[in-house]
Point group: C2
Chain length 408, copies 2
C-alpha cells in the first residue's frame, strides 16, 4: 500500500459523509468515477421511486395529478433547489434545458435594458459554449454588441476585469460561477456589485456549482441565474435545468417564449396572452414532471446532509486529488490547469497533457472515468456524496500509469 | 345489461387490438379513463425499463453512454416517431417542450421569410393557447402582423378559409392538425398546397394526432411540424416534444436558441457558433434522455401494431362514444361540439353543457376521468391501445347519470 492509498483510507474512515456513498448505483466495470461534474451517478433508490411514480402518481391518479401536485412542481422543487443556492422561496423554477433558460432569461434582461439604451453584453471568451452561443445569437437578433473578456483558461474572470468591462452601455453581464474547464470560482459578491454599480443586470450560470458550492444568490443581490440538474444534483442525463429571477424583477421582465404555462390563468385559454403575475411568467410549456423524479431524490439527500458539509468534503477531495496528481501525474510533464486550493477552487480539477486524448480512451476501457476536454485536458470531477478518497487515489494512479505508457 | 353494454362487449371481443389494453397500468379507483388525449396511461413495462436504464445505461456506463448511444437519441427516436407521422429519416428530432419547439421553428420560418418581405402569420383564433401566444410574441418582436382565422369551435379551419387568408405577404401558416377542442382534422394536403401556392411556409401542430392518426408529412410536402409525446405517445407527464423540418429546409433555416448541441462540432467548443450542417442545428441544449424512456417504449408498441390499425380502432371507439352520448347525454340537453363521423373527426369528442364543470368534478371522484375545458366542455379522449369499448360505455353512462343529478 502506498502512502497515498493509506492516506485515502484514513480520510474515508474519518469522512462524516462516507455512509452516503453506498446510496448510489456502483455497478459494472467502473473502478473510479471522476466525472460526477458532468453526469452525477444515479441513486439506488431511483428504480423504486420511478416505479412508485409510474404506478401511483401517473398510473392511478392520471390527469388528476396535475391538479393535485404537478402544476406546483416547478415551483416546489424550485424552492428546494433555491435553498441550496441561497435563494428564498418563490424565485426559482424548474423546466427547459440550461440553454433554453439562458436564452429566456438573457433575452428578458437584454430587452428590458434596451429600453434604457443599454445594448452591450459582457461575457468571457472561455465561458461554456452554450452561454457564448446564446449571447452571440441574442446580440445578432437584438442589435447588441458583445464585450468579450479574455479569461485565463487555467483561472477565470476576475473582479478587476469585470470592473473594466462594464459601463453605461452594459445591459447584461453573463458569467459562470464555476468555470467549466478550470473549476475557477468567480467572485459572485464583488462582480454582482460591480455590474450593479454600472447599471447592468447580471446572470450567473450555476451549472458547475449548484448542489456542491453555496452560492448566496439573495445575499449577493443577484438578478438572474440558471443552473443544471444532471451534474452535482444527479438528475439524470438531460434532466431539466432551473432558473432564478429575483422577486422584484418578476414584473419588470418578460421572456419571449410565451406558452400556456406562463399565462396568468393557465386554463382560461383566453384569446390573448397575459403573463402570470409572478415567477410563473418565466415558464413556457408543460412542466417536465417525469424528468424530475431523480432530481427530487437527490435534492432530498443534499438537504439532509447540508450544502456546507457537501462543500467541506468537496474541498477535502479536491485537495487530495491535487496531492495524488502531484505524486502520479505532474512529474510526467502534465500541468494542473486549475486554481490553487482556496476560495477560488471549485469541485473539479483539470490537468493537461498533449497525450490525454488517447490516455483518456484507455482509462475508460479500464473503468476509470474522467472527462476529456479538447484539446488536451482531463477533468477530474469530485462529486462529494458519491465519491471516495480511495476512488480518487485509484483513478489518479491509473491516469499516471496510462500517461507513462503513452510516453514510452 | 343495456343494449350499449352488450354492443361494447361484442366490440371488445372482436377488437384485434384488445390484447394490448392490459399492457398499460390500470390501477387505483379508475373505472373509465377518457383522457388519453391529455395524458396517456403508462405502460406496465416501464418500472422495469426505468430500472434497467438507471442501473445499466446510466449507472454502469455513466458518461460513456453519451458516446455509445445518447448523442444519437434525439435523431434515432426522432426517426421512429417520424415513421408514425409519415416522415422519412433525418427530419425529426426529439427535445424541448412543444412550446419551445413552436417558438424555435416558427422563428426560423418567420426570420427566413422576412428576407423576402413576407411579414404576416396566419393562425386561427381557436388554436391551442401556446400556438397563439407564441405567434403573438414573435409578431411583436419581429414586427409581423397576424391574420386571425375565425374558427368554428365545434369544427375547425377549412381549406377555403386558408385560401382566403394567405397572400403575397404571408410568411407562415401555423395550424393544428387536430383541433384540441373539437377534434376536427384539418386538410393537411390541401392547406399545405394552398400555403405553398401563396409562397408561405406551413407549420403543423401534431399534438392531438401524433401516434393516433397518420399525417403524411412527406407525402403532403409539409415544411415544419411540432408534436407532443405525452398524449397518444404515452411519454409521461411533461415528456419532450418532437420537431420535423423537411430535409431541403435544413440549410435554409436557422433557429434562434443557439446551444452547444446545435453546433457543427459539439465537443470542439470553439470560439464562435457554427450551426450543424443538418437537422442537428435545431437542437439547443443537452438532449432529455431520461425523459424519453417511456416514450420509446410506446413508440415500440405503436410500431408493432401499425398506425393504420391504431387509427381504425380510434374511429371505432369514437363512433361508439358518439352512440353512447346520443343514448345517455345528449337527450339531457348537452351538445356535441365535434365533427360528425368521417375524415374530419379525430380521436376525441367534446360535449358541452353549462353544468359540466361540477359534473366533471363528480366524475373524477368516482373514477371516471374525462377532461373539463372552460367554459363548458368535457373532452372524451379515446386512446386506442389502452381503451376498451366497455370503458367508454361505463364512462359515458356515468356522465349521463351525473348530468341528470346536476339537473335535478
Amino acid at each position: 500500500m502506498t502512502d497515498l492509498a493509506r492516506r485515502a483510507a484514513e480520510l474515508d474512515a474519518a469522512d462524516p459523509l462516507a455512509e452516503h456513498v453506498d446510496r448510489f448505483v456502483r455497478g459494472g466495470d467502473v473502478v473510479a468515477y471522476l466525472d460526477g461534474n458532468s453526469l452525477g451517478r444515479p441513486l439506488r433508490s431511483l428504480p423504486q421511486r420511478y416505479g412508485d411514480f409510474i404506478e401511483r402518481d401517473w398510473g392511478e391518479r392520471l390527469i388528476r395529478s396535475w391538479d393535485e401536485q404537478w402544476m406546483r412542481r416547478p415551483f416546489d422543487l424550485g424552492d428546494r433547489i433555491g435553498a441550496l443556492v441561497g435563494a428564498g422561496p418563490g424565485q426559482v423554477f424548474v423546466g427547459d434545458s440550461t440553454t433554453v433558460l439562458l436564452y429566456k432569461l438573457a433575452r428578458a434582461a437584454v430587452d428590458a435594458q434596451a429600453e434604457r439604451g443599454r445594448t452591450e453584453i459582457v461575457i468571457d471568451e472561455d465561458n461554456f459554449p452554450s452561454d457564448r452561443f446564446i449571447v452571440e445569437g441574442i446580440a445578432a437578433e437584438r442589435g447588441c454588441t458583445i464585450r468579450w473578456i479574455e479569461a485565463d483558461p487555467a483561472g477565470g474572470v476576475s473582479l478587476e476585469q469585470v470592473e473594466e468591462a462594464v459601463g453605461e452601455r452594459t445591459a447584461l453581464v453573463l458569467l459562470s460561477h464555476v468555470a467549466y474547464r478550470s473549476g475557477f470560482v468567480a467572485d459572485v459578491a464583488g462582480i454582482t456589485r460591480a455590474a450593479h454599480d454600472a447599471g447592468a443586470l447580471v446572470l450567473w450560470d450555476l451549472c458547475h456549482s449548484a448542489g456542491v458550492i453555496p452560492v448566496g444568490l439573495d445575499e449577493h443581490g443577484v438578478d438572474l441565474a440558471v443552473g443544471c440538474s444532471y451534474k452535482y444534483l444527479n438528475g439524470g442525463p438531460g434532466a431539466p435545468a432551473f432558473g432564478y429571477v429575483r422577486s422584484d424583477l418578476h414584473e419588470r421582465l418578460a421572456q419571449p417564449i410565451q406558452g400556456w404555462m406562463g399565462a396568468a390563468d393557465v386554463f382560461a385559454m383566453g384569446p390573448r396572452f397575459e403573463p402570470a403575475a409572478g415567477l410563473g411568467r418565466f415558464l413556457s410549456g408543460t412542466p417536465p414532471v417525469l424528468a424530475t423524479v431523480a432530481l427530487e431524490a437527490m435534492v432530498e439527500l443534499v438537504e439532509s446532509v447540508g450544502i456546507d458539509a457537501v462543500r467541506a468534503k468537496s474541498i477535502a477531495l479536491t485537495d487530495f486529488a491535487e496531492a495524488a496528481l502531484a505524486e502520479h501525474v505532474l512529474p510526467l510533464g502534465a500541468r494542473l490547469a486549475s486554481p490553487p486550493a482556496g476560495p477560488h477552487r471549485g469541485s473539479h480539477l483539470t490537468v493537461t497533457h498533449p497525450s490525454f486524448r488517447e490516455v483518456n480512451a484507455r482509462l475508460w476501457e479500464r473503468g476509470v472515468i474522467g472527462d476529456f476536454r479538447a484539446p488536451d485536458g482531463i477533468r477530474i470531477g469530485l462529486s462529494p456524496l458519491s465519491t471516495t478518497f480511495a476512488e480518487v487515489d485509484v483513478g489518479v494512479a491509473a491516469l499516471g500509469e496510462e500517461l507513462r505508457r503513452a510516453l514510452r
